[in-house]
């Protein structure tokens, strides 16, 4: 009770007297935590949804059989006639675009009759059936099972049974009739289309193949034994894995992306931590006399420490509670952006539902209270050390801190060296832990170097400032140097936000420039074709075979290069296997290779049997180098492929293995192409040929892009991908600018006597306003200087360590000067604007009251 009373008098009352300060801390925590929460929720929803329908509809199976290019129907038969009591469920898993809405949905095909019988048997044997398994379509639709146009959908896709739906599958539109609905009990995430396997094989061009065979095996004699038994009957190129291994592989693939995004989301919180530290420090300095008095009246050091930490915890708690709805709201916007990125770079994704679970609440509370308490530790400790005979003036206190700036600068140098050292260590389990350590050390080094920087710059600049901007500028500059600790923390907070903006800006700008340059060499064709529908890194619908020939025969077309892509897994991670006509076209002719060998030499080698080139992200993930041998399951065989070279690639993060078309056709004889690159004859007119291709493709749903279109589209996707990072930085900057506004408010409160005095000494009220605005401007300039220096160093770590270790891309360093100048000017202006309200308050102070109040 006594503690509560003391807490109330020492902490709560001052907090209530300064609602602006209290509100500022709460808002800083709330914004920081809400960003963390939003990214956590959104990345779970965006990245987690890829397992959605495919897996929720997979039922309670144990094993899955897959093969690159599909599993032959015969294997389904072989498994079905084995003398074991196993359930065999072949499936086609593809995507279809609902033409009316443009929505791309999973297309799942099952052997409806077999499934129905199998489940009946199972139900008879065991009443405890998994409620999520596929329920056989209801009887009213079952009689249509042999109709080629029969589909079953989720309820949102069709109004009633019997409705017609046009689906775009590969490059063909087909009309279907809804014969029933997927039951609610299946708990499908999003929409889905089901059809019979025979119809699907016809529609998707996978005649004679299925995508996956799911197997349910009896409990005895054990999972491993069953795996061995079944492995023995399968061809070597056909894979047998535990069910869900694809999901696990996808999760592994996305982990670096999610991890890095998560880390980025903590930036606003870090900036918030600086501001909490600053606000509580100011509060401690301001209450030193009170603390001394309370100590003299019998309070122990621990009591004081606990009181200030409890204050921080309360602020953290309130901020975290506010962050829950705010984070949920932010997540709604973030999830769309993230889903686009996941789709473009990784895998088909559909935003899942956002749920504010108990875990989210715990995360918000732990992060909010944690960051507030940790930020308050140092000032709270300082408060606990205030002696009962406290009588030190603020001037003397600041002077003590000023003396320590040299020592701090040396520590900063040591930390910077440690950062350089940490940047040289490799990733741990694919995560650039030392890269992040290096970044943290740099931020710490910067924070410690800032007092020296502020003192040096303000000392040197004060005379010059007086000359050019008047006495107010000199007073502002001296005041910043005089309140060195407060200024340093403010500059550290704002400069950290600016540094993150600068570093991410440089990284993204460099990346963008690198991709643009790369596209110059990688997109030599004049026109590109792909099947209509949403593009995604893991979907490779095909184009009708005869279209390629028709296009090749058109006047003005010099050649057509076919690119075919397949989804494969290598070392438990998804990879895109591609084949290209490297001899025919100019494809890859000007590609850059890590070996720096001329492209024509590398491509000549690629024509040799079982040769492959791999992309840089693949090489990085799988530690592959030129000369290594990859063993890939192709068709029914395990094929050993020699890596001829590694090429730079920025198309996606999954990684590519590229073979010559002649090589891949030996193992996967399907000649269909996923994309076409059309090269025009020198005299041909682009628009004329484009129109001719359109006419030729009248019966195929393909999209035709000119070289310029495709570059534009690529850059659009690129910018969309990084939009979330800009949003996160903007929030960090907002938190920092809020901090500056709050700090300027407390500066006005703390120095009101000084402002009053200046009025007595002849200052006009406009001079007081100018003083505050110049102070805000100086904080902005100092933060920009420190932020840019730190930002450039961080960008080096981001580009050459964190990005390289996480994603494996080589990014050429590039200065996005215009963007940086714009952003820095924006921050500077925002900082000055943040001074307007405090300046107005200072201007309105009654000099008599403030000078005589002590």
């Amino acid at each position: 009770m006594a503690s509560l009373s003391l807490f109330s008098r020492l902490i709560v009352r001052p907090a209530r007297r300064e609602p602006a300060r209290s509100l500022l801390i709460v808002l800083a925590v709330a914004l920081g935590v809400s960003v963390v929460l939003a990214i956590d929720l959104a990345s779970s929803a965006a990245a987690g949804s890829f397992r959605s329908s495919m897996e929720t509809l997979a039922g309670d199976n144990d094993l899955e059989v897959t093969a690159v290019g599909g599993v032959a129907d015969q294997i389904v038969g072989q498994l079905a006639i084995l003398p074991y009591s196993i359930r065999v469920s072949p499936r086609i898993e593809d995507h279809a675009t609902v033409v009316a809405s443009g929505e791309t949905v999973p297309l799942i095909a099952i052997d409806v009759v077999a499934e129905a019988n199998s489940h009946k048997d199972q139900q008879a044997q065991n009443q405890n059936v998994d409620s999520r398994k596929i329920e056989t379509p209801k009887i009213d639709g079952f009689k249509h099972i042999n109709d080629a146009d029969a589909i079953w959908t989720t309820r949102q896709l069709a109004g009633k049974v019997g409705d017609k739906i046009t689906l775009l599958i590969n490059d063909q539109k087909r009309d279907y009739t809804v014969r029933g609905f997927v039951p609610e009990s299946a708990q499908v995430n999003g929409n889905v289309v089901l059809m019979d396997i025979a119809a699907a094989q016809n529609a998707t061009g996978k005649a004679g193949h299925v995508d996956r065979i799911l197997l349910k095996v009896p409990e005895q004699p054990g999972f491993d034994v069953w795996q061995q038994k079944l492995r023995a009957v399968l061809p070597s190129g056909v894979e047998l894995n535990a069910q869900g291994s694809q999901t696990a592989a996808n999760r592994r693939m996305l982990s670096a992306f999610r991890w890095n995004l998560g880390i980025l989301s903590y930036v606003a919180l870090l900036v918030g931590a600086f501001l909490i530290y600053n606000t509580i420090s100011v509060s401690v300095v301001r209450r030193r006399a009170d603390i001394g008095t309370i100590r003299a009246l019998g309070a122990s050091r621990n009591t004081i420490l606990a009181a200030f930490l409890a204050e921080a915890a309360v602020f953290g708690f309130v901020g975290a509670v506010l962050a829950l709805p705010l984070g949920r709201l932010m997540a709604t916007g973030a999830v769309r952006l993230l889903a686009t990125t996941v789709d473009a770079l990784y895998i088909s994704s559909r935003p899942g539902s956002l749920s504010l679970s108990g875990e989210s609440v715990v995360l918000a509370l732990v992060v909010g209270i944690g960051v507030a308490v940790v930020s308050a530790l140092a000032p709270a400790r300082e408060a606990s050390l205030v002696p009962p005979t406290e009588a030190m003036a603020r001037g003397a206190r600041e002077y003590t801190i000023r003396v320590e700036r040299t020592r701090d600068a040396w520590i900063a140098l040591a930390l910077a060296l440690a950062a350089a050292l940490a940047a040289r260590f490799p990733a741990i389990a694919g995560k650039p832990l030392f890269g992040y350590l290096s970044a943290l050390l740099l931020i710490a080094a910067s924070a410690l170097a800032i007092p020296a920087l502020v003192f040096w710059i303000t000392s040197v600049a004060s005379t010059t400032l007086r000359k050019f901007m008047g006495v107010e500028a000199m007073l502002a500059s001296r005041s910043l140097a005089g309140s060195l600790r407060r200024t340093s923390v403010l500059v550290a907070a704002l400069s950290t936000a600016i540094a993150m903006m600068t570093s991410v800006g440089i990284m993204v700008g460099s990346f963008r420039q690198t991709v643009t340059t790369w596209m110059d060499s990688q997109l030599p064709a004049d026109l590109y074709l792909r099947p209509a529908g949403d593009p995604s890194a893991d979907r490779h619908p095909t184009i009708a075979l005869d279209l390629t020939d028709r296009i090749a025969r058109l006047p003005g077309v010099e050649s057509v290069s076919r690119f075919r892509a397949y989804e494969i897994q290598y070392e438990g991670l998804p990879v895109t296997l591609g084949s290209a006509e490297t001899n025919l076209s100019r494809f890859y002719q000007s590609s850059g290779f890590l070996s720096r060998r001329p492209a024509k030499d590398v491509l000549k080698e690629l024509l040799s049997p079982d040769a492959a080139i791999v992309s840089e992200p693949f090489a990085n993930k799988h530690h592959a180098k030129a000369g290594d041998v990859l063993t890939l399951p192709l068709g029914e065989k395990l094929v050993k492929l020699r890596i001829v070279d590694i090429f730079y690639d920025y198309a996606n993060e999954r990684g590519y293995v590229i073979l010559d078309r002649s090589t891949i056709l030996r193992y996967l004889p399907d000649p269909s192409a996923s994309n076409l690159a059309v090269y025009l004859a020198p005299e041909a007119d682009l628009e004329t040929v484009r129109n001719e291709i359109k006419a030729s493709a009248a019966h195929s749903e393909v999209l035709i892009f000119s070289n310029r279109d495709i570059r534009h589209e690529a850059i659009r996707i690129f910018d969309q991908t990084f939009a979330i990072t800009y949003a996160l930085e903007a929030i960090a900057i907002l938190v920092a600018v809020m901090g500056v506004a709050g700090a300027l408010m407390s500066i006005v409160i703390d120095r009101r006597r000084e402002f009053g005095l200046l009025r007595f000494l002849g200052a006009a009220s406009s001079q007081i306003r100018k003083l505050i605005l110049v102070e805000a401007g100086l904080i902005g300039i100092l933060s920009n200087i420190a932020g840019v220096v730190l930002g450039v160093l961080l960008s080096l770590v981001l580009i050459f360590v964190i990005n390289k270790q996480s994603f494996g891309w080589t990014i050429q360093f590039h200065w996005p000067v215009a963007i940086l100048l714009g952003a820095l000017t924006g921050v500077y202006v925002a900082t000055v604007l943040a001074g307007i309200y405090p300046a107005r308050i200072a201007q309105r102070l009654n000099p008599i009251e403030v000078v005589h109040e002590e």
């Binding site: 007073l475 001296r478 005089g482 009025r759 007595f760 006009a764």
Partner: protein, 235 residues
């Protein structure tokens, strides 16, 4: 009307005419000065003596055009302060008024000489250093020009504050308990300094003080009580 110290109109610098000043504290009006009149001529050293709350500081603020009467008028060098705009008031203070405070009120972030320069800089002077140095020399602290306030003793700080108050050669110096934070010996030396300035520069000094001992340094003592002038004693 309260008692007044009538001066020769030609040498009159400060005229306080039937001034009443009311404040509001917690919504309740509090009368700090009540129908008070006084006239002070150039070159006079006047002490306002009385208990806390008797209205001394209020009178100083009115005299320095930092505050305005609820009724009545204050004329500084013949100019009614309540008739001036904000800009004109600032100009008036810059030219004619200097302030000294009990707690010195030096800026921690400026050295002694920079503190003294401040009024001139605020008034827009380009090169105030020679004047500031001259004032510092006149208060006997020439060698301490570059010291920061926390490196000075209380007496030294008050001398710097006096130099600052005089740097722009004001017609009137308003001192609010200038010796209140000093020991007797140092306090007396400050009063001697003020006395010397008053004589040497013909600067009018109006000083609020608790101390009756100050009377020996001034030429007029105004005794105040509850917002009124009780008695005026000339030496």
């Amino acid at each position: 009307m309260q008692s007044a110290a009538t001066e020769d109109p030609i040498s009159r610098l400060l005229s306080v005419e039937r001034v009443t000043k009311e404040y509001k504290t917690d919504g309740e009006p509090v009368r700090a000065l009540h129908d008070l009149s006084i006239e002070i001529g150039s070159g006079r050293f006047v002490a306002l003596v009385g208990r806390s709350g008797c209205g001394k500081s209020t009178l100083l603020n009115l005299a320095g055009a930092m505050d305005f009467p609820t009724s009545g008028h204050v004329l500084l060098d013949g100019i009614a302060t309540d008739q001036l705009s904000e800009t004109q008031l600032t100009q008036l203070r810059r030219e004619k008024v200097g302030f000294i405070f009990q707690s010195f009120q030096l800026l921690h972030t400026l050295s002694a000489i920079e503190n003294i320069e401040l009024p001139l800089l605020l008034a827009g002077h380009g090169n105030p250093r020679p004047q500031a140095r001259e004032r510092l020399v006149s208060v006997g602290l020439a060698e301490l020009a570059d010291r920061m306030p926390h490196q000075l003793s209380g007496g030294q700080m008050q001398r710097v504050a006096i130099a600052r108050a005089l740097v722009h050669s004001p017609r009137i110096l308003l001192a609010d308990e200038p010796t209140g934070n000093l020991d007797t010996a140092t306090g007396n030396s400050i009063l001697e300094e003020l006395q010397r300035i008053c004589i040497a520069h013909k600067t009018t000094i109006l000083m609020a003080t608790h101390s009756a001992e100050s009377a020996s340094f001034v030429d007029t003592v105004v005794h105040m009580r509850d917002g009124h002038i009780e008695e005026i004693v000339r030496s």
